[in-house]
């Protein structure tokens, strides 16, 4: 029978199906962080239950942790209690691996899992975090869950799910100079909207996806949720297999051979049918910049801020008006005339070594504009940080006027001290430009690492293609 990759991933995890199609799905990998797990561990304890399989758990502290002066610990007592609670819970329950605050392996959970080989093709991967879709780059069925579901997975190693509809997104053509995976996914979200993928599982395919590294594929899958889809994934190919070889938790020897043979079946069969198909010619994509308060509010760097009258639907028009007001923008302003106050290079979308190399290549030999108050580089993990330092990237950033920080989620969601002040405008490599996301009253523009670096140098949004 001809199957999609989604069919294969789904069917290989079905434990039981109820009459209405509600399915008990087995979970292979459970990523745990401090924000969405304490209530789940507490619930488990109150019910007198034990975790079903602790070797499925990979845990780290990331959302609350500071990115500088680690020797001082966590100053905010509420944040500190949350991180200590994770510590106590994991030490009591156990885990496959745990990277506590200040451990050399600590980092953003979605960066840590893949880099240690704890994310393997064909797995179901869950985490109390919507950006779990990142792991779909490895042909995993990976999605975010709420805290009740975190408790459900801890207690039963399963989740109750209904199968989604399937969407195939084909990225074909040659990517232009200075255009990255981030631009591809932003352009895609601009095309289908933030609810365009609701109810769908998205397979990203096409020659342009095949040509991307694993890290770039992670950037694309990471933002599937910004298109409304809980899961987004890419089929296994040589790039996938090559990435995994030799990672600490990847199989070895004869088991590797068996695993690899299985992984190579994780592709959609020829002629498989999808509920929806979207075709995107990547040769037409230019570097992208969001202008509003939703990731779908995006244009090319060569474009202008839209006007409410460009939108016929009254609900959308009102949303645009509100976004323009919040963002402090005037319709028809050229994107490359918008000045910025801060720059954030980091987050589970864009904090891996290739992202830092990409940004450093722009920054090298240049200076952050004097009007930029703060330019931050926050590596995704301790491993990424040390790799970057071995390559001298930290020195490139610091020489240009960037701050080089410790790993964590940082200013993507501003749960720690890294944030925007009211009215400040930021070029950010993160994933959400919602009102207040990076700090109350803060104005976020989502861009690629190369475009964030370009904005830092120029002091306003500018076309990276003019610098390379």
């Amino acid at each position: 029978m001809i199957k999609t990759l989604y069919d294969k991933l789904w069917e290989s995890h079905v434990v039981h199906v109820e009459d209405d199609g509600t399915t008990l799905l087995y979970i292979d990998r459970h990523l745990v962080h401090e924000v969405t797990s304490p209530q789940a561990f507490e619930g488990l304890k109150l019910a007198g239950r034990k975790p079903w399989r602790v070797s499925s758990i990979v845990a780290t502290a990331d959302h609350n942790t500071p990115t500088k002066e680690w020797e001082k610990g966590i100053e905010d007592p509420i944040s500190r209690l949350q991180v200590e609670t994770l510590d106590a819970n994991i030490r009591e329950s156990g885990a496959l691996v745990y990277f506590p605050f200040r451990d050399k392996g600590q980092g953003i959970v979605h960066v840590v899992g893949p880099e240690i080989g704890a994310t393997l093709p064909g797995m179901t991967v869950v985490c109390g975090d919507s950006h779990t879709s990142t792991h779909g780059a490895f042909a995993c069925l990976a999605h975010g869950i709420g805290t009740s579901e975190v408790e459900h997975v801890l207690a039963t190693q399963c989740l109750l799910q209904k199968k989604s509809k399937s969407m195939l997104v084909r990225f074909d053509g040659a990517l232009g100079r200075g255009v990255t995976a981030k631009d591809m996914v932003l352009a895609f979200i601009g095309r289908i909207g933030t609810a365009g993928g609701t109810g769908y599982a998205i397979e990203f395919s096409g020659s342009a996806i095949r040509g991307l590294s694993m890290e770039s594929r992670m950037t694309i899958c990471n933002m599937a949720i910004e298109a409304g889809a809980r899961v987004g994934f890419v089929a296994v190919d040589e790039t996938t297999v090559a990435y995994l070889k030799g990672r600490p938790f990847a199989p070895k020897g004869a088991t590797w051979d068996r695993a690899e043979a299985y992984w190579r079946t994780l592709v959609s069969d020829q002629g498989a049918s999808f509920d929806s198909v979207v075709d995107i010619d990547v040769s037409r994509i230019e570097p992208q910049v969001t202008w509003g308060t939703s990731p779908e509010m995006v244009v090319s760097v060569t474009g202008t801020v839209p006007a409410p009258e460009d939108f016929s639907d009254p609900v959308r028009r009102e949303g645009v008006e509100r976004a323009l007001q919040y963002m402090g923008l005037t319709p028809r302003t050229p994107i490359n005339k918008i000045p910025i106050d801060k720059v954030f290079i980091g987050s589970c979308t864009n904090s891996r070594i290739e992202d830092l190399r990409e940004a450093a290549s722009i920054v090298k030999g240049r200076r952050v504009a004097p009007t930029v108050k703060l330019a931050l580089v926050v590596p995704g993990s301790g491993l990424v940080k040390r790799q970057a330092e071995a390559e001298g990237l930290d020195k490139v950033f610091v020489a240009a006027g960037f701050e080089w920080r410790e790993p964590g989620c940082s200013m993507c969601l501003a749960m720690n001290a890294d944030r925007l002040e009211p009215g400040e405008r930021c070029a950010s490599t993160s994933n959400r430009n919602f009102e207040g996301r990076q700090g109350v009253g803060g104005r976020t523009h989502l861009v690629s690492p190369a475009m964030a670096a370009t904005a830092a140098i120029a002091g306003h949004f500018a076309d990276v293609r003019d610098l390379i």
Partner: protein, 212 residues
Amino acid sequence: MQKFVQLDGLVAPLDRANVDTDAIIPKQFLKSIKRSGFGPNAFDEWRYLDHGEPGMDNSKRAKNPDFVLNQPRYVGASILLVRENFGCGSSREHAPWALEDMGFRVLLGPSFADIFFTNCFKNGLLPICLPVAEIDALFAQALAIPGYKLRIDLEAQTVTRADGKVIHFDVDTFRKYCLLNGFDDIGLTLCRSEKIKEFEARRRIDQPWLFS
């Protein structure tokens, strides 16, 4: 979990599309390790004029008179009328916790984000999807008629308007069953623990690398 069977409730209209979970409960309140007490900080940035932080006495903070849920006519509302893609963004279950703690038991809208939709059902909060035209009509009535109420009947799967019009809604059988009875679905899943163990044993043989 709190059961949900039937409700006659006051309706509050929140006329914005794409309300994200960061707006429903801002990140600074996610530092709590509790499940309760999020209600006073629901929609914090829209609801108050100052910047909210955990530990503040919310009763002493100045409220934003322009925010719809602050209007006296909507005090005590248990049904929230919303626009498309409600609950998008972060998977934080603190969002339904906050809405429930604020007094809501039903959300009525044209569409909801997937993770948020699932999280609601785990907390005795019923999200109902209705066609856009029905939602538009409900917004018009809720805004025009002070004290506008609706009757929600989960068993019958109906929303009944004050003018007598009955609107049917869909809900998954399994979710309906759990909500009507207030069942903890972990308990139900553990009734299948033998099947889970069998599945896991097969998996250990077929894909041993997943169990190292």
